[in-house]
């Protein structure tokens, strides 16, 4: 059925939506290696991985278990250190900074989204979103205002005063995305964020992540589901700790506007 390939769909106008190569990457991984253990039990989790993520970009990382996906994400977020290589977040190499500075950088620049949401059960949605700002020294009232604004911007305003156990999984995950990107933070690292969700809900979570990246955030999405990886601008394939292949940004935007114009 070759006619069905996207190339045959109408191209009518081109809408500029490419990330600007002239921009600084939000995250830059250079020759990243990570070796666990030593001697006979030595495991090379990562073998010289290079990856840059620019503002406005969502990059999916796919690969079988054991390929290094999760290691890549924990190192990118400063939760683990590489054996060698550089991790540059917003211009700072986080492998060379002290513990205190690293903690501050993580708070200010990096947001995580996990499979199991990881919201604090004793705090409301707004308080969960406000927390990183408060830890950063922002006053509680100011942090709450920012948090509520962030929730409203994502269409989650009605959840502000609910506790995690009063929300569905999909709602919790959307709040987790709001928390990941509150304030000046614009790097979101998502590890199987749809893993605990049914596919409809998973899709809406991905749509939100996509929208945040379209609004200027940079994201890495680790997933083994092709359907979710397909929301990304680029798909990077990891095998045995190395990037073996990646798909480039597609022409879909011009397809899109072509379709929109056709209708």
């Amino acid at each position: 059925m070759p006619e069905a390939m996207p190339g045959s769909m109408p191209h009518e106008s081109h809408e500029a939506h490419q990330s600007q190569p002239s921009q600084q990457p939000v995250l830059q991984l250079e020759q990243l290696t990570r070796v666990h253990g030593s001697g006979a039990t030595e495991v090379h989790a990562l073998r010289g991985v290079d990856l840059s993520v620019f503002p406005g970009e969502l990059v999916a990382v796919m690969g079988p278990s054991g390929s290094g996906k999760s290691t890549l994400l924990t190192i990118a977020g400063g939760l683990d250190s590489p054996t060698s290589g550089r991790v540059v977040v917003e211009g700072t190499d986080i492998t060379t900074v002290g513990r205190k500075e690293l903690a501050a950088l993580r708070r200010r620049s990096i947001g995580y989204v996990f499979q199991d949401y990881n919201l604090i059960p004793a705090l409301t949605a707004a308080e969960n979103v406000a927390l990183p700002r408060e830890l950063d020294g922002v006053s509680a009232r100011k942090a709450r205002v920012t948090a509520v604004a962030a929730l409203e911007e994502m269409g989650l305003g009605q959840l502000a005063d609910r506790f995690p156990d009063e929300m569905s999984g999909g709602q919790q995950q959307r709040v987790a995305i709001a928390r990941a990107l509150v304030g000046d933070r614009r790097l979101v690292l998502a590890d199987e964020p749809t893993g605990a969700l049914d596919s409809e809900t998973g899709e809406s979570v991905l749509a939100l992540l996509r929208a945040r990246c379209d609004a200027g955030a940079a994201g890495i999405l680790v997933t083994h589901e092709p359907r979710f990886a397909a929301w990304a601008d680029r798909v990077v394939f990891l095998r045995d700790g190395s990037v073996v292949d990646e798909t480039l940004r597609s022409q879909a935007d011009s397809l899109l506007s072509g379709q929109a114009a056709a209708q």
Partner: protein
């Protein structure tokens, strides 16, 4: 693809002329399966011959109009009512290619799989972008446009499901081949010295790992060589260390 039935379905909304049918067909399916006007007229000719449509005058601009007949309506009802024939699966170039790549001299089947996975994911990215747009369109539209938008959304989602199935099958094929070649390597290694039970049992603690517990649906087990082929029953995940674990799981299940 049944152009014939597609045209009948459109004609049920009222008389239409050829290029109008073509436009409407494409706006329903997002031009996924483009039609040329020649195909439309050829099909209309056959439908007319079979008594399913009749010529029905001209519109103001002099286009010859076609209308559906009762026989045509009957055929359309029966088409909607019966499942699409799957008796002979359509030829699938990718399946044929992988089948031919097995053991083909000078062909790295993993590279064949990755090249296809790349293209498949890329197509999925395209479809997903289009879908995101279609979802927005569906929310904002009404009337005839809404009908077209919904139809296009369904077609797009079908394309996404189809490419997803392909991507999963590729993942599955890769891990299947890896497991088979690991088993073959073990067999070759064990060919001369017999397996000592002690060595095999040394792996048993790994059985309690979550994957191992779920994994084993043993299809064939060959005790003498320790060859075990297991079927995870799903193409979803590829587990690098799965082979060792499921092998010991299957083995201990046997004891």
């Amino acid at each position: 693809m049944s152009i014939r039935h597609g045209l009948l379905a459109l004609l049920e909304h009222g008389p239409r002329y050829g290029s109008q049918l073509r436009t409407e067909f494409e706006s329903r399916t997002g031009a996924t399966w483009p039609l040329n006007v020649g195909q439309v007229y050829t099909t209309l000719g056959r439908l007319e011959r079979d008594g399913m449509v009749v010529q029905d005058g001209e519109d103001g601009a002099g286009h010859a109009l076609y209308a559906i007949t009762d026989a045509g309506r009957g055929e359309l009802r029966s088409w909607f009512g019966r499942p699409v024939d799957r008796a002979s699966p359509p030829r699938d170039e990718l399946a044929i290619k992988l089948a031919m790549a097995v053991g083909a001299p000078g062909v790295d089947i993993r590279a064949v799989i990755q090249a296809q996975r790349h293209a498949t994911l890329r197509a999925m990215q395209d479809y997903t972008r289009l879908k995101a747009q279609a979802l927005v369109a569906v929310e904002g539209a009404d009337g005839e446009k809404a009908r077209d938008d919904v139809a296009w959304l369904l077609v797009l989602e079908q394309l996404i499901f189809q490419t997803e199935a392909e991507a999963r099958w590729l993942d599955h094929s890769e891990s299947r081949l890896a497991r088979l070649s690991a088993a073959a390597a073990r067999r070759a290694k064990n060919a001369t010295p017999a397996v000592t039970p002690g060595t095999a049992d040394a792996q048993s603690p790994a059985v309690t790992e979550a994957t191992g517990a779920r994994a084993a649906r043993t299809t064939t087990t060959d005790h003498g060589t320790g060859r075990t082929t297991t079927d995870h029953g799903t193409a979803r995940t590829t587990t690098d260390h799965g082979t060792a674990r499921t092998t010991s799981a299957a083995r201990s299940a046997r004891r």
